[in-house]
């Protein structure tokens, strides 16, 4: 299980190769599921619907972030039989089309990896201390938390 918080971009291909080929259990991996979150070019908030985004800045709570993400990985590992998991989350100022987050999970069979990957993202969205601020031509504003993210988390209870 790995957690990385970083300002720099990540090489998606390289990260997935590394998930496939590293670790003593690599011979048991039958499924590798990954999710990549990206910066959208256009806002989808009712406040300024359709504005294009110049930059997206991610703030976090450094002392807490890694602990929170590790706790989510541990919870996923308790719920499903997975082999390994990786979370990379970027912070700082990003541009449209940039990668924000990668979650990757390996398991023997696809069902466990799909579920664990989605679970990790749903929990990350609602309990990891990150905050997004959008800069548009209309000025800067903090992104509002979405009720749909809370609903997505609830279904795992």
């Amino acid at each position: 299980m790995t957690v990385r918080i970083q300002t720099e971009d990540f090489d998606l291909g390289q990260e997935l190769i590394s998930m496939r080929l590293s670790g003593n259990d690599r011979g048991n991996i039958g499924a590798l599921v990954s999710f990549v979150g990206l910066v959208r070019e256009f806002t989808d908030n009712s406040l300024n619907d359709g504005d294009s985004i110049n930059t997206l800045t991610l703030e976090h709570y450094p002392e807490m972030t890694e602990k929170a993400l590790t706790a989510i990985e541990l919870e996923a590992k308790e719920r499903w039989v997975i082999i390994d998991s990786l979370i990379i989350h970027r912070v700082g100022t990003l541009q449209p089309l940039d990668q924000i987050v990668l979650v990757a999970v390996t398991s023997a069979h696809r069902g466990e990896a799909f579920k664990a990957c989605e679970f990790i993202m749903d929990y990350l969205k609602t309990s990891a201390p990150f905050w997004k601020k959008e800069a548009t031509s209309q000025g800067e504003r903090w992104v509002e938390a979405k009720l749909s993210d809370d609903v997505a988390k609830e279904r795992w209870k």
Partner: protein, 85 residues
Amino acid sequence: MNINILYFARIKESVNYSSENIDLPKDVVTVTALKNYLALRGENWANLFNGKQVVRAAINHALVDDMATISAGDEVAFFPPVTGG
């Protein structure tokens, strides 16, 4: 008791600083009590901490609810609902 308070994101911008060390009165021992105490600092603080806005809290880097108890030396953080991912 003496604690550290950290503020993040919209709340940090609104109170205009990111952290403070503070001596609390004896009766301020829960997150709710601390929010009420901070709300007395003026209009800006009242707007943040009077309960109309959702303000989440963490104690020593773990999310807590408003009933949580604060102890001397704790790091208490206040922030808006998270929006990462």
